[in-house]
């Protein structure tokens, strides 16, 4: 052990040992049960002396907190410190479990009441709305802005790299940097998008490939865009850049050695454009000799099959292509298998994954990919929604041409820049237009100027106007235009629409009732789906569901359909609560969820058939609320087992806003011991106890682990269990929470957690504000959060009341100049 610990860790251990000696001796504490009111010191000082300073003193400096030195009678000296203290006291997480004495409930409340009211008063007298820096549009915002500006629905995510994440979100201005690579990609994207939006006058054919994840066994109807009675395949919303002839090439899935899967029998491949059938291909079931074994292991070829048959099995899909004329714009292309098999009652468990699937060539034929190539033949730009949107006028004579271009470009720039366009800016655009027009005509001129708009800093950056010559530290209200942008980027992750922009330009946005009406209108708009996706997915770690990789050997039940269902459940559930304007507290308790057949089977809910998600009432309390959702339980697990540490940390961080500090530098991270010294398997709880013996780790881990262990009834993919499979032992989910409350099982744990619902609301508002402002929150934002919460109390903390609270708050409406 000696050699594994750094110097810092050793010092830390020494401190802990001192602490044990102190608390063990019992000398520090008076034997009375309450604070001594007769003492010279104030009540609050006595509170600290009695409950806190044994660890948080100048000598030990535990957690860098010296409460013996801090002036509790004048919190203005260090508001940041007292906000930290509030978090721990509000959760009753200090003194820690095991400390010999704890404050009474009255003492807690008295101390908290004092600190909060002092800090809130302080904040009222010295307002600081903070200062988000210049904000580059992130990838999502960029894509949405293109959609709203140009009516162009294409996948821009492949054009730009993902953005850096801070504070749990990818829209934090501080870390949205610009590198040369990113800039090149912006320029390239601007040129591609402009060409597609304006509509190219001619273009070379190009190919787009769409592949099906090999995680899907393609035994069921894959989604609602595919025909009934189909199985497997893919549906894509492809953007056809011009009117013309296009070609679809279909490739089937092959096993590890190149054999097309499922060629022993006939398969019918159905190809559709906008739900209309284009063609049906027959593939498989032809024999040109004897076929080889189902497991095509090249190392051991007793008999690989006759050469002609092998040739067929390698290339049976070679002629699966079709060409067809189509108009420019988005069209739904669906390629799927006609399901002629007898209807099965349940879904098929992917047992094959357990076998040597890589070398298996039997089973069902599966789609590998679809390549769409074009345009060919006679092409023309056609009339797409983008062209309709852009070309609001058409030039007929030479003189009109300039006026028309000016009108088109000032319209576009106005929306793109989210403010009136300056004359000099419009002149710059017109210069480019003229250059492009001279080269290749009117539309080319518009395209060139549009490239400039889309690659330009006025579009890519949100820059908030500052009053001229203001003194450092001046607090000023945002202009109505900047407020409109903040609103639309918060709720839509996009640019303001015409209505919002026009209200802002007329200076009416802040008139009574207008802002609230706009917020309600915006939340009801389908564009608010991005708020669900962007905020919800990031807060609830939904994006990680795509990346989770449960080991097949441990979780044979896991496959792509289950992954997709887990994600859809959480997204639908969250979407429902926001749209139905439920109380945010429903996230802790809701006894309803949304399932399809696949997920229902995973949850043990009977009577649900098909792929559609529907609302069901849960009769198992363990599944209720966020902590019963399989997706969340999976992303907080390792790929072969649960992790009480990760789960506990997630709950502390994302539900109670009390992130434990990162492990000390170079702390030795031990492999989890899964057996005792005699070779007997340990339960997770026993293993955690062994693991926690390192005193460096124990301090924080004893807060995280009981939470994670309380969720041990759910395995690494969220399956409910009473017993461990391998240890043949029942799951013990009892424990002691950080607030010293004991619980016997998952359900009791959830009840205990409910006692901290005030912190849960606080956490949600914290996340909402971080996301809305695009900056890290500071101690001076805490009084604002408390204010939003108290105003929302009468509405029982509905989503809309909290969202509106954030929007009406000072940090959202104001900004200050640099200090």
């Amino acid at each position: 052990m000696e050699s594994l610990l750094s110097g810092a860790a050793k010092t830390y251990i020494a401190k802990i040992l001192v602490l044990f000696l102190l608390t063990g001796s019992g000398l520090v504490y008076a034997q009375t049960s309450t604070i001594d009111a007769s003492s010279e010191a104030s009540y609050h000082r006595s509170f600290l002396n009695r409950y806190c300073i044994a660890c948080h003193n100048e000598t030990l400096n535990t957690a860098n907190l010296m409460l013996d030195r801090a002036n509790v009678d004048d919190v203005s000296q260090d508001p940041q410190l007292w906000e930290k203290v509030i978090i721990k006291l509000a959760l009753r997480a200090m003194p820690q479990v095991g400390f010999p004495i704890r404050p009474t409930e009255t003492e807690y409340q008295q101390m908290l009441g004092y600190l909060k009211s002092e800090l809130d008063t302080l904040a009222k007298n010295k307002v600081d709305p903070g200062r988000p820096t210049i904000h580059r549009l992130n990838r999502t915002e960029y894509a949405n802005a293109i959609r709203d500006l140009l009516s162009l629905e294409i996948d821009t995510t492949s054009m730009l790299p993902p953005d850096n994440v801070a504070e749990g979100f990818d829209n934090i201005a501080e870390v949205l940097a610009v590198s040369p690579l990113l800039m090149e990609q912006y320029v390239l994207a601007a040129s591609k998008i402009s060409r597609l939006a304006v509509g190219p006058s001619s273009m070379l054919p190009s190919s787009e490939i769409y592949t099906v994840s090999e995680e899907y066994l393609q035994e069921q109807r894959m989604n609602e865009d595919l025909p009934f009675g189909s199985r497997g395949g893919i549906a894509v919303n492809h953007y056809f850049p011009m009117d013309g002839e296009y070609n679809i090439r279909i490739k089937l899935a092959r096993n590890g050695e190149g054999y097309i899967r499922g060629m022993r029998r006939e398969n019918w491949v159905d190809v559709r454009l906008d739900h209309e059938r284009l063609d049906v291909f027959k593939v498989g079931g032809e024999f040109y000799g004897k076929t080889g074994p189902l497991f095509t292991h090249s190392q051991n070829p007793d008999f690989a099959g006759d050469a002609d048959q092998i040739g067929y099995e390698f290339s049976a899909d070679k002629d699966m292509e079709i060409s067809f004329p189509v108009s420019a714009g988005n069209h739904l292309v669906a390629v799927t298998f006609m399901d002629d098999r007898a209807k099965k009652t349940g879904h098929l468990t992917p047992d094959l994954m357990l076998l040597d699937f890589a070398n298996y060539k039997g089973g069902e034929a599966m789609l590998d990919s679809v390549v769409i190539t074009g345009p060919f033949g006679e092409t023309s730009p056609g009339m797409t929604p983008s062209r309709e949107r852009i070309f609001t006028c058409r030039p007929d004579t030479g003189t009109n041409q300039e006026m028309c271009a000016r009108s088109i470009l000032s319209n576009l720039a106005h929306r793109a820049f989210r403010r009136p366009v300056q004359d000099v800016e419009l002149e710059n655009l017109m210069d480019l237009y003229r250059k492009g027009e001279k080269d290749a005509g009117f539309e080319n001129g518009i395209e060139l100027a549009m490239q400039r708009i889309l690659a330009g800093p006025e579009f890519l950056f949100r820059i908030e106007k500052e009053p001229a010559n203001a003194k450092p530290g001046t607090v000023y209200p945002l202009t109505d235009l900047d407020l409109a942008s903040r609103l639309s980027f918060f709720l839509w992750s996009s640019i303001p629409d015409a209505e919002l922009l026009s209200l802002a330009e007329k200076g009416e946005l802040r008139k009574p009732g207008i802002l609230e009406a706009q917020v309600n209108r915006m939340l009801a708009d389908p564009k608010a789906d991005t708020f669900i996706r962007s905020f919800g997915e990031q807060w609830l770690a939904l994006r990680k569901i795509d990346l989770a990789a449960p080991q097949k050997a441990v979780f044979p039940a896991f496959d792509g359909s289950l992954r997709a269902a887990m994600k859809k459940e959480l997204a639908t559930w969250f979407d429902y609560m926001v749209h139905e304007d439920k109380s945010v507290l429903d996230m802790l308790t809701a006894d309803y969820t949304f399932v399809n057949q696949r997920l229902a089977e995973h949850y043990g809910i009977e009577g649900i058939y098909g792929d559609n998600f529907r609302k069901v009432t849960l009769d198992t309390p363990a599944r209720a609320g966020l902590l019963g959702k399989a997706g969340l339980l999976m992303v907080t697990s390792f790929n072969s087992r649960t992790s009480p540490v990760v789960r506990g940390k997630w709950v502390l961080e994302n539900m109670l806003d009390m992130a434990p500090p990162p492990p000390p530098a170079d702390a030795f991270q031990p492999e989890l011991q899964i057996q005792n010294d005699e070779g007997k398997a340990l339960t997770m709880k026993e293993a955690m106890e062994v693991h926690r013996q390192n005193p460096v780790c124990a301090n924080c881990h004893k807060m995280m682990e009981p939470i994670g262990l309380a969720l041990e009834n759910f395995d690494g993919i969220g399956t409910y269990r009473d017993h461990y499979e391998d240890a043949n032992t029942s799951v013990d989910s009892s424990g002691i929470l950080f607030d010293n409350a004991e619980f016997r099982d998952t359900n009791e744990f959830k009840d205990r957690l409910l006692k901290h619902s005030d912190r849960f609301v606080h956490t949600i508002v914290t996340k909402l504000m971080t996301y809305a402002l695009g900056r890290k929150l500071e101690y001076f934002d805490q009084p604002v959060i408390r204010d939003i919460i108290s105003k929302s109390e009468s509405d029982n903390y509905t989503w809309s009341s909290l969202i509106l609270g954030v929007i009406e708050s000072t940090p959202f409406q104001y900004r200050r100049t640099p200090l």
């Binding site: 993902p162 690579l181 800039m183 054919p205 190009s206 291909f281 400039r452 006025e458 500052e466 990162p662």
Partner: protein, 445 residues
Amino acid sequence: MMIFKKAIQRRSFLKGAGAAVALPFLDAMVPALAATGGAGQRPFRIAYVYLPTGRIMDHWIPATTGSDYKLTPTLAPLAEHRKEMLVLSGLDVKAGKGSHSGPCASYMTGITPSKENNTVGISVDQVIAKQIGKETTLASMELGVDPPEWAGGAVDGLAGYYTSTISWMTESTPLPRQVNPRSVFERLFGDTDSLDPEALRRRMESKSSVLDSVSKGVKRLMTSVGENDRHKLQEYFDAVRDIERGIEVTEAKSLNEGFIDTDITRPAGIPVLFEDHANLMFDMMLLAYQTDMTRMISFMLGHEGSDRNYLELGAKDGHHSLTHHKGRQEAIDLVKKIELHQSELLARFISKMKATQDGETSLLDNTIIIAGGAHSDSNLHLHTDVPTLVFGASSKNLKGGRHIRYDGDPVSNLHLAVMEMAKVSSEEYLSEKTDATGVLKGLIA
């Protein structure tokens, strides 16, 4: 000026349509920027190929040193390049700390990451790019195969990107890696839709005018924002200037017009199969060198600690999970299979580099390729005696055909040797925090 080869047309009888339609057999469009000149005058190129998540070392390091060593099983696919290959052992990532993320960040920087400030140091490829990059359209390229999202959350208190990149432009700017071969192609040669040289010239000119106008716009904005906000716009302005510089370089080179013979075509996207994907990225590297679009490329064959599933090799668990084999033979065998597979891909790339004419010699002669990683035994997270191969650079008198064993020298010393060959000053690399102790000896003979 760029000249493109005419797209190769393929006629294909379409079963469904019952009509003959001309299909492009993926448009083979490659700009002709081949410079002229004999050996010695040819530009010197540098490639770092990162081998992620360690190797099974007793299948990697040859038993004996010198020129008559016996190739180990994992090196066997490289047998045909034995003459151009140096096997180096006994090199350590000295600055490496912890598992995966720490050593990965130290691999090309020679510096231990600071968790407090979230900083490391400039990496060797970026030191080189800064100095020789001015002569090419792109100063450097950073390529990969694993999407950045795979890097996930923090390990050892270091953010996900510490395992998804090895390139650091400054101590606080990790460079993202391009993983889509199609976007690499378009970055190199533009998203062109015309073969008409006049149209291409106009396109280039248009791009310049757009950037020029963008520069004006950002300058205008900079006068109206506060001091604090200006640095963001400055970043943007610098990036625009960098692209403009690239265009100027390209235009200056257009005097040497000509065609390049290649069978590489514009990729349609990211292939599903790792092998196809990796080969395409290697092809893009070859193409970039061949057309002298850049001379400094680093390519990660996976994130450090990547848990990619090699189902096609019969591996049901991810690579990283398998490397924690705890001695299980079955897992070890699968890891060996994955490593062998990567050696084969590397061998194919070396073959192509060798077969590509570059002036009077081959491209490989004028390129140094370092293939290595920051872990040796990944089961134990060792970052000592890390796997290292060096190829090519005969124009710089690098002498292959040998296995050299060092005594715990830092990998950074190899970087110093690379910089010396590239005639690049290592001053910026050698901050006081570096683990480098001096140019690695013995490569040249």
